[in-house]
Symmetry: C2
């Protein structure tokens, strides 16, 4: 097993403790225990806790983005955008863990400017992706020409964010069908 793989394993252990115990109770010792090792392993692969938590957040985010890109592959038009958004939704119970990590970090960022900046980077990244998709749809004359694409991208992100936040607290709040219905309805309002 390579160095990077082992790093990811440690981050994954951290990730599991975060979901189970909460971010502020995710201590180095708890991560080591989850990993079945000593704290020496954790400190060996990460300079400090900040580096580890940021890496764990990065992993979760990359998983979501890769899922979105995989869903986009080979698709076109409105269906392509819809499927990309669907990939980010907590449609199944297994997706909820990602959203728990996301929500935990969001709350943990309050009062920590460097974490707010980290989140902002990811929001910007997502907005860029969605904006590009919307621009393509606009060029193909599939959505209205007078739309503020940045606003529409932010609106889509906010919609997904809201659904995700709700489901973290109330897992039965939206069924998978309902989530997709709401996204579809939102996107349909943009069509020509």
């Amino acid at each position: 097993m390579s160095y990077d793989d082992r790093r990811i394993e440690v981050a994954k252990a951290a990730w599991q403790v975060i979901v189970r115990e909460g971010l502020d109770r995710t201590s180095m010792r708890a991560i080591a225990q989850e990993l079945g090792s000593s704290t020496g392993v954790v400190t060996h692969y990460f300079r400090d806790k900040e580096e580890l938590t940021l890496f764990a957040l990065e992993q979760v985010f990359e998983n979501v983005v890769e899922g979105m890109k995989a869903c986009a592959e080979g698709r076109q038009g409105i269906d392509r955008l819809e499927q990309m958004i669907f990939a980010a939704l907590p449609l199944e119970a297994t997706d909820r863990a990602d959203w728990k990590v996301w929500a935990a970090f969001l709350g943990y960022s309050i009062g920590r400017e460097y974490l707010v900046q980290e989140h902002r980077k990811r929001y910007d990244f997502l907005r860029q992706i969605i904006c590009q998709e919307l621009a393509d749809l606009q060029a193909a004359n599939l959505i209205q020409v007078d739309l503020d694409l940045t606003l529409e991208a932010n609106a889509l992100i906010a919609l997904v964010d809201g659904i995700g936040s709700s489901i973290v607290i109330c897992p039965e709040q939206f069924s998978a069908d309902q989530q997709q219905y709401l996204v579809r309805r939102h996107i349909n309002a943009l069509l020509t």
Copy 2:
């Protein structure tokens, strides 16, 4: 100053420290310092930290709900619903503090089931209010008759939640006009 007023003062100090430092760094000592007193005051008015934090959350929530009810007063129809939703949005910079507290608690709830239940209670409460408004609008034949009101109420809450979460990270993400535009567009899709 009455006992209850002093309790609220302590909670408000906690509330300010949460926004500035983050929930997990909001110690009894930090609250006392913010209050300009000793920790003796804090422990005198609250049994333990859990009671204090839950009370602080309750205060923020009540402020928002009261704002919504005040906006509803004297209004009718679609305008009434719109204004209620607007009251919950972070339209001005001062509203963002409420959303920071909300986000901090949401993240802090991950892995703490008793806090998740507290949040769920509030989601249920909000859903009940919105549902009632939607039912009134439906009875007045102002919105479509075949709507799933619970779903639509949840969708509105998710929309507001998403906007609030986004703005905690990116304060310039949505202007006040844009927030209101998105809510209006969402509600317009429900009209008859």
